[in-house]
């Protein structure tokens, strides 16, 4: 008989956003982009049809990693960089749980870089939300692995000489089966992206541009200001040509040397634009290399491919081995092998 609690799960259809709010005071700086992301998550969760008690949020260290305290689910605010590894243990033991990792650019890409890439390649069924504010906020303003070269911060008064990661390219290179980008203040797009990530079976990596108004204010203004957004955002839509700008007047195409170029759709012709394909590995990577300011910033799902997840493969292996094992449990194993009897 199992010692694990026999539970009747709560009715997921009755959940609303309020059910995911906690009684804790939210302690991010006023105006921080984290608030918008928290709201979007609280809105997205009740729509997933998952009983609240089956959610687990795991975070590391950093401003973003406060997230579990503000979400009324099971949660762990762990140690710096290790959330993907901890979440891997949770999901591997209990595949029925919906396990989310909340992390930042420092937590995920600096101290936790190793865990992130290995989690992605294994395709552990985790939803990994990486808030990218391109700065260290909690430790009060040092450059991060996504800060641009030359950035002046407290620890780089003469400008940082570090070359930054492109988190999307990194995730794709690490064999992630789902890779997307969204922006904190674009609640509609963020909500849609979270739903897609949640629906994906396997590691879902979502980079969320997040404004740190204290230490790196305005880092993504070009993408969030009403006036400039339209010129700088490339919405990725599976099967659709890559168009952006007012009225979709501009597009992305390949030049004769296979380099991306921005073209005027009217003169160049829509049929010669690149068509986004989430299942095309090479194209996903290619799109991830479109970087501001020379190119519009792609937002949306870069890659979504199906691959068995680590936790389900592990479970299947255990189930198969269990079906084959001799009866008698551990005692049979103890008694087995070469033995002799002393009388």
């Amino acid at each position: 008989m199992s010692i694990y609690p026999k539970v009747t799960h709560t009715d997921a259809s009755k959940l609303g956003r309020k059910d995911f709010q906690t009684d804790q005071d939210v302690r991010w700086c006023p105006g921080c982009g984290d608030y918008a992301i928290l709201a979007a998550v609280h809105k997205a969760l009740p729509e997933l049809g998952i009983p609240r008690e089956n959610f687990v949020f795991v975070s590391g260290i950093g401003c973003s990693s406060r997230f579990p305290y503000y979400t009324q689910t099971f949660g762990m605010h762990s140690i710096h960089g290790r959330a993907p590894a901890i979440a891997t243990g949770i999901k591997t033991l209990r595949p029925e749980l919906s396990v989310w990792v909340v992390t930042g650019d420092g937590d995920a890409l600096s101290i936790g870089g190793n865990h992130l890439i290995h989690t992605l390649r294994r395709n552990v069924d985790l939803k990994i939300l990486m808030f990218n504010n391109r700065i260290y906020g909690l430790t009060k303003g040092q450059y991060s692995p996504t800060s641009e070269q030359g950035k002046k911060t407290k620890s780089s008064p003469l400008g940082s000489v570090d070359y930054p990661f492109n988190p999307i390219s990194l995730a794709l290179g690490a064999e992630a089966s789902f890779v997307a980008r969204s922006v904190d203040v674009d609640s509609k797009h963020l909500g849609e992206t979270l739903s897609r990530a949640a629906a994906h079976k396997g590691s879902a990596f979502v980079e969320i541009y997040q404004n740190c108004n204290i230490f790196n204010d305005g880092a993504f203004d070009y993408l969030t200001d009403r006036a400039t957004k339209i010129d700088h955002e490339l919405r990725l839509e599976h099967g659709k040509p890559m168009r952006f700008g007012p009225g979709g007047a501009k597009g992305i195409a390949l030049d004769t040397r296979m380099q991306p170029m921005v073209v005027d759709v009217a003169t160049f012709g829509e049929d010669r634009l690149l068509i986004h394909d989430e299942t095309n590995d090479a194209l996903s990577f290619f799109v991830s290399r479109l970087v501001h300011p020379n190119f519009p910033t792609p937002v949306g799902v870069f890659r979504a491919v199906e691959r068995p997840s680590f936790d389900e493969l592990m479970q299947a292996q255990v189930d198969k081995a269990k079906a084959k094992v001799k009866p008698g449990g551990v005692q049979a194993l103890l008694d087995g092998g070469e033995t002799w009897t002393v009388t």
Partner: protein, 617 residues
């Protein structure tokens, strides 16, 4: 199958130690373990010590590539692999050179002459051939062309030279079987079942080599005597030979069954702990999930995740891995989750001596973390005892909701001994209760053991957050309150202290009071026990306490220490337990230390005990 009746005279011996030594490609570990199994089956008590070369593939014939396996077997009780072998089988000059110093004066030396050519002699650093220069005269030397005779026995099988030469270890084994009146049937069957299905010819070659060795002993004029070691008086029961790593792995499987918990291992391969990972990975059929992580930190982190989710979680490693895991160990301590950290110690510091044994991580696991970080420590005393020590570690982890460190070492991990197979129904269950009632639930409310409730994801109404930041007593909310912090630090310490209240009285072997107490822990158990018995047989007043619990110490330990004129602490480090005992009990312990990557010899402890008894006279 007894090939023939012993025609040559047979000498009776109580205890014999044999060391097989050769190049790492010579199959000495296999030879040793075959001899071990056969010897166990014939009813002797025994203890083994495999000694691996440090490098994976040292150049053939070099000293660095020498691999050894020692078996000590007896008609009475055996506690150690034996100090000085009575018999040394050396398959090449390097094996001779690396091992000769240990051989008993007058001991038997079997040498494979084919290997004693100029090239190999030079590789081993010999200026002249020891077979000819008289340097071996203190020993009974038996030069045998092991390679040549083996090849002649299998020449018609048409194997290529390289493969054919590899069968020579079976010749050596056969010869030693003959010398010690052993039945070769076990190995005959083993060859058939191991090689038969893959390659009949190789199976036949190995079998012929084995028999050739056996017959050589009988017919060659060289050997005049055989040796008999009678059956030992061993407690009735079913036995098998077991290594420390196997016993530990079985202990984890048993603990999972006794608790009803699902077993999860997060591990990163490291010598000498990897065999536990291998063993458990092979037994997924018993429900264990094994995760080979990307590094030591991920290994323990995944185990913390599994513990949070309601598993019996463990991580296996050695000292360097513990160093990397220490931050996560503290997380487990703050989360107050059951977790086993198995440290199979090896020679340190840094990469140190990966394949050699040492007990130098005690202070590391005791103190090597930031903050006030009390974590219980349990140590195994012998290969078979690893099973029971693991059960105890798991019991404490679950009962007190705490990470627990299980200490073994390279010697215990790889050595084997006959092990009476336990009956799981005789072992106490490990009771586990998961919290299900949301009424009045608070994540850091405590029971009489000061353990907090285990409230696992998936349980409605128990949604809560935990983390590494300091907790408010009870609610578990983040708290920076000064007095609350002090309270929590003391609560965590008191919880670990209370484990001592759950322990039975400490067992004292020998005199319960008197002149000298030998107090030790871990691998030296066998050497200490044998030495204490020897010295007591001389009429001396000596007791032996072997500590399983290193944190917390048993409640009665202070009293026990005060009952002797002197306390001797032998350890394979520079005095780590001594330091703890002195600090805790203000007792003037005498340290007896060795850090040579090797276990204590019985004679070393005997000498230390006698010296100490002399000193207090």
């Amino acid at each position: 199958m007894q090939l023939d009746a012993p025609a040559k005279p047979s000498e009776i011996h109580e205890t014999v130690a044999i060391r097989f030594a050769g190049d790492s490609g010579d199959g000495m570990q296999l030879t040793g373990s075959q001899f071990t199994d056969t010897t166990a089956l014939s009813g002797n008590d025994l203890s083994t010590f495999p000694d691996f070369p440090a490098e994976i593939r040292a150049p053939a014939g070099s000293l660095a590539g020498v691999s050894g396996f020692q078996v000590n077997f007896s008609s009475s009780q055996v506690y150690t692999p034996g100090d000085e072998p009575d018999v040394l089988v050396a398959m090449n000059p390097a094996a001779l050179r690396a091992n000769l110093a240990d051989l008993k004066h007058g001991g038997i030396l079997i040498l494979n002459t084919e290997q004693f050519g100029p090239k190999n002699l030079e590789r081993a650093g010999y200026k002249s051939n020891p077979l000819e220069d008289g340097s071996l005269s203190p020993y009974q030397v038996f030069p045998v062309d092991i390679t040549g005779i083996t090849l002649r026995a299998i020449t018609d099988l048409g194997l290529n030279q390289r493969v054919a030469v590899r069968t020579k270890n079976f010749f050596a084994l056969g010869l030693v079987y003959w010398m010690f009146n052993r039945d070769i049937q076990h190995t005959v069957d083993w060859i058939a079942s191991t090689f038969g299905p893959k390659d009949q010819t190789i199976a036949e070659a190995n079998l012929r080599a084995l028999k050739a060795g056996y017959h050589y002993g009988e017919t060659a004029e060289v050997f005049t005597t055989r040796y008999t070691v009678a059956k030992a008086a061993i407690a009735p029961g079913r036995y098998k030979t077991i290594t420390g790593n196997e016993a530990a792995a079985l202990g984890f499987l048993a603990a999972a069954e006794l608790s009803g918990l699902e077993l999860f291992l997060g591990s990163y391969p490291i010598t000498p702990a990897s065999d536990i990972l291998h063993f458990l990975a092979k037994h997924k059929g018993l429900g264990v999930k094994t995760f080979q992580a990307e590094d030591e930190i991920a290994a323990i982190s995944s185990a913390i995740g599994a513990a949070y989710a309601g598993g019996l979680a463990l991580t296996t490693t050695s000292g360097p891995g513990v160093a990397l895991k220490s931050e996560a160990m503290n997380l487990a301590l703050m989360l107050e989750l059951p977790l086993i950290i198995a440290n199979i110690q090896r020679g340190g510091p840094s990469t140190g001596l990966p394949t050699k044994t040492e007990q130098s991580d005690l202070l590391q696991v005791m103190f090597g973390r930031n903050g006030e970080s009390p974590i219980p420590i349990i140590a195994a005393a012998s290969p078979g005892d690893s099973f029971f020590a693991v059960l105890e570690a798991c019991r404490i982890a679950v009962q007190f909701m705490t990470p627990v460190i299980f200490l073994s070492d390279g010697y215990l991990a790889n050595s084997s001994e006959p092990w009476r197979i336990p009956n799981l129904s005789d072992q106490p269950k490990i009771p586990v209760t998961f919290r299900t009632d949301p009424v009045g639930f608070q994540p850091y409310l405590r029971d009489e053991n000061l353990a907090r409730p285990w409230a696992i994801p998936g349980t409605p109404g128990l949604e809560h957050r935990v983390g590494g930041l300091e907790k408010q007593d009870g609610s578990g909310n983040v708290s920076y309150d000064a007095l609350n912090h002090e309270k929590m630090v003391k609560l965590r310490a008191e919880k670990v202290r209370r484990i001592a209240d759950s322990l039975p009285p400490t067992f004292i072997h020998g005199d319960p009071e008197g002149d000298l107490l030998v107090i030790a822990w871990g691998g030296p158990f066998g050497a200490v026990r044998a030495a204490v018995d020897k010295v007591r047989a001389m009429g001396k007043s000596v007791g032996h306490v072997h500590l399983r619990h290193l944190n917390p110490f048993p409640n009665d330990l202070g009293d026990i220490l005060s009952r002797y004129k002197c306390v001797l602490v032998p350890e394979l480090n520079l005095g780590q337990l001594s330091l703890l005992l002195r600090a805790r009990y203000v007792v003037d312990c005498v340290s007896y230390n060795k850090v040579q990557g090797k276990p204590f010899k019985e004679s070393e402890i005997t000498r230390a005990v006698l010296t100490q008894l002399e000193a207090i006279k």
